[in-house]
């Protein structure tokens, strides 16, 4: 687990003994909590295990992972159709079985794109890790510096650049195929090549938008926790899209 700052765990105090009645008998037990702009949100009132940013982070992550289930099923549906169509043919007028499937030559630029996407995943991970480096996070939480956010923003910008590069590379690949007169409508295999790559590009475009949102959030958001969550969720989504691309690329390269 990556370190994320949560206030020290305090047992839930019973209401009857809660307040210091001024007799001096009870030492003040109130710790500094709920700082960091979480106005009026006293985590001590909450049951253990749900006291703030850590829980918000895991909530967002869980939502994201359920969303990724859905994305995976979307592509699995297309891939299972891919297997069926690849094998299918029809009988022509001479009772010959004809399979129209002509494997689409994968433009070699896709290898380069894959490398770029892998690199972008690495830089995204650097951004995510830097958001959770304990010493710097502490500094930023107290308000001494914004070093973590600045570093993460730098890495995210690199990711954004590489992601943009990937999308441009995909565009070039479609262009190259078009120059060879391979279009979406040409052949069953090209249907699937374009369907899969375009659907993935749309998902990656959502990732790019998330990166931009995260970059804006890093500048604008006043809460460190929100910044951390924004970066974390964006990067996990980005990783998932990278992993998905490798699966789809292997399928297109070797599975046709």
């Amino acid at each position: 687990m990556s370190p994320i700052l949560t206030p020290p765990e305090i047992d839930r105090r019973h209401r009857a003994h809660e307040s210091d009645n001024g007799s001096g008998r009870r030492p003040p037990t109130d710790k500094l909590t709920g700082g960091n702009g979480e106005g009026g949100d006293n985590w001590n009132d909450r049951p253990q295990g749900r006291r703030g940013p850590r829980e918000r982070l895991s909530q967002v992550r869980m939502g994201l992972f359920f969303g990724l289930f859905a994305v995976l099923m979307f592509f699995i549906a297309i891939v299972s159709a891919f297997f069926v169509t690849r094998a299918s043919g029809h009988f022509d007028a001479y009772s010959h079985y004809v399979n129209e499937w002509l494997p689409t030559t994968i433009p070699s630029i896709l290898w380069l794109n894959t490398a770029v996407l892998l690199l972008s995943s690495a830089s995204a991970e650097m951004a995510r890790r830097s958001m959770f480096r304990e010493v710097d996070v502490m500094d930023e939480w107290i308000g001494l510096s914004r070093r973590t956010s600045q570093r993460a923003a730098a890495w995210l910008s690199v990711t954004l650049g590489l992601g943009g590069l990937f999308l441009v590379g995909q565009w070039i690949a479609w262009d190259q195929l078009a120059a060879q007169h391979v279009f979406f409508r040409s052949n069953p295999s090209s249907h699937f090549f374009f369907l899969i790559t375009i659907a993935h590009a749309i998902h990656l475009f959502i990732g790019v938008s998330a990166l931009i949102a995260a970059l804006i959030g890093l500048r604008r958001s006043h809460k460190l926790a929100s910044r951390q969550i924004l970066v974390d969720a964006t990067v996990w989504y980005w990783h998932a899209m990278g992993l998905l691309w490798i699966f789809l690329f292997v399928l297109l390269e070797y599975g046709q």
Partner: protein, 572 residues
């Protein structure tokens, strides 16, 4: 996220929005079904301001009725509507996990409904290929008047709906997993929550498959691909121009992979609610509580693996058909376990026969009646004969549509005091129940008989089929057809007491007492726990035990939120 949430993203607002959407869809869908019945019985009857109902218009009615009812009523109201209204309170939470996402998916659902209804007004009218939109007829505008722009509008509406449902389900899942209040362990979750959980998990897994299939169908329609179209396919005498050797069977696989779990999404919340309401009014614990949790999950799990039983006569490999028949019949096991638990829960108890209890009993009754025909249709051999007959219509209307609606009415009567602070009138409610039950059985039981006699479904006209044996066969079902139509109108009219009840109750000043049903689940915890508040502070409620702790002697009960003191049940 922040301490203050906008009212617009509050789960109650969102929940009422969903309910309003499905109420609108239900009204339109009911009118369409009545028009279908009128046309089937009196083909010469002309609709005022419109004229005769043409065969393609009849098919459009079938399509829109199915789409509206299944997507916008049976999916939206139990899962998203009551899921938002009740779920957070029932798990001891103050809000849903992602309020803004929640509001956005409600907006998308509303937009989807508007887009779908727009299909009535585009050139050519609404689509005619049924809510299942089988290609090749759904893949080309040549297939009929509604298959051009109407079909495109349909595709757009369902795509929006898929997106919205997925987002809503993500929110529901995260809420249940992460936001349960203190002490609310998995074992203590009410069965309604388990129903919502399983249905949401199914939604996340299957709606995106539907979205993929819709995207491919869109390509077939507009980009000359042939995912679902065989080579050399003639539609209305025109050769379809496209590349590839696709197969409609592929669409059927993808569609029913979504379509079958979809019916469980519609019914699982109702099953959970029935368990809780039966136990509530019988003052008993739910029989075999852990088994009920397990069967809920098992029904969801098996529901993913049975889609092929919709395709027994579609050219599916018979061996694959047998495998799907096996998994389909396996679902009968957890379903029967549920029925047995319902019966055991109320067995020899002296239940308070309030309106919600009556509707829950009606749910059980319809679930048994509709369920018994399930294993029959799960046999490929029997399904061959019955598949295209009204027998199937009777089956799914009883087990899914009517049971689902009874679940919704049960939820409305049960939770009305929680939502509006007033109890719906009992006499009017009982009148409503009796009318609805008689109407439901009167409409759908005879369909088994006409189906067995061979009446085909999705045919615009049954009379005047000539003097051949088929025509004579259909002639013999005509008296029953009339009866079904009268019963359908009776069923529709039986909803008037409900509307009257709503209006009268909302105008009355008689407020309900807190926890009027002596319920044990968390949503009834305290009336001062202001649900409508948008402030995000902890509820301060602790769950001490599972639901439905009623004492053996039937005198006292222990709600989930009480630490030890039992409450006494009111005298009968």
């Amino acid at each position: 996220m922040t301490a203050q949430h906008s009212r617009w993203t509050h789960h109650r607002t969102v929940g009422f929005g969903y309910v309003a959407i499905s109420l609108a869809a239900a009204c339109v869908g009911t009118v369409l079904s009545l028009l279908m019945r009128l046309h089937l019985t009196w083909p010469a009857w002309s609709l005022p301001l419109h004229g005769l109902i043409l065969p393609e218009e009849y098919l459009a009615l079938v399509t829109m009725h199915g789409t509206l009812m299944l997507f916008f009523v049976l999916t939206v109201a139990p899962q998203s509507g009551f899921g938002n209204l009740i779920l957070p309170a029932q798990i001891g939470a103050r809000r849903m996990a992602f309020p803004r996402l929640n509001a956005a998916s409600m907006g998308l659902t509303g937009l989807a409904l508007l887009v779908l209804l727009a299909a009535f007004f585009v050139p050519g009218g609404s689509p005619i290929s049924g809510w299942t939109a089988y290609p090749p007829l759904s893949a080309t505008a040549l297939a009929g008047p509604g298959q051009g722009e109407g079909m495109d509008v349909w595709l757009a509406a369902i795509a929006l709906f898929s997106l919205a449902s997925t987002l809503g389900a993500i929110n529901t899942l995260t809420t249940i997993v992460k936001l349960r209040g203190e002490g609310m362990s998995w074992q203590r979750l009410p069965l309604t929550v388990w129903g919502w959980f399983t249905a949401a998990l199914l939604s996340v897994l299957v709606f995106s498959v539907l979205l993929a299939a819709l995207a491919m169908l869109f390509c077939d329609r507009h980009l000359q691909s042939g995912f679902f179209l065989p080579t050399g396919d003639l539609v209305n005498g025109v050769l379809l121009q496209h590349h590839g050797d696709g197969s409609p069977l592929l669409w059927l696989h993808l569609f029913w992979f979504f379509g079958h779990p979809e019916v469980y999404i519609a019914i699982l919340p109702g099953m959970g609610l029935t368990s809780m309401v039966l136990a509530n009014f019988a003052h008993r614990r739910v029989f075999a509580y852990r088994l009920m949790i397990a069967t809920t999950l098992l029904i969801g799990f098996l529901g993913i693996l049975v889609w092929g039983h919709h395709m027994f006569v579609a050219g599916l490999n018979p061996f694959a058909g047998s495998a799907f028949a096996l998994s389909s019949m396996a679902i009968a096991l957890p379903s029967s376990a549920k029925v047995l638990s319902w019966l055991a829960t109320i067995w020899r108890s002296r239940p308070r026969l309030t309106t919600p209890m009556l509707f829950a009993l009606g749910f059980v009754s319809l679930f048994i009646t509709g369920g018994l025909t399930g294993p029959i249709l799960a046999q490929p051999i029997l399904d061959e004969y019955l598949h295209n007959t009204f027998f199937v219509v009777a089956h799914f209307h009883l087990i899914m549509a009517m049971a689902g609606i009874f679940g919704l009415f049960c939820a409305t009567y049960y939770w009305f005091p929680l939502l509006f602070g007033r109890l719906l009138s009992e006499p009017l409610g009982k009148l409503h129940f009796a009318g609805t039950l008689i109407g439901a059985y009167g409409t759908f039981l005879p369909m088994h008989l006409t189906g067995l006699a061979g009446e085909p479904r999705q045919y615009a006209q049954l009379t005047g089929g000539g003097s051949g044996p088929a025509g004579q066969l259909l002639q013999t079902t005509l008296p029953l057809q009339h009866g079904i139509t009268y019963a359908a109108f009776f069923l529709a009219c039986a909803q008037l007491p409900f509307l009257l009840n709503l209006v009268l109750t909302l105008r009355s000043h008689l407020l309900a007492t807190p926890n009027p049903w002596s319920a044990t689940t968390m949503e009834w915890a305290s009336q001062d726990f202001d649900e409508a508040s948008t402030e995000d502070k902890p509820t301060g409620l602790v769950t001490y035990r599972g639901p439905c702790h009623y004492s053996e002697d039937g005198v006292s009960f222990l709600p989930q939120w009480e630490s030890g003191a039992t409450s006494t049940l009111p005298p009968e």
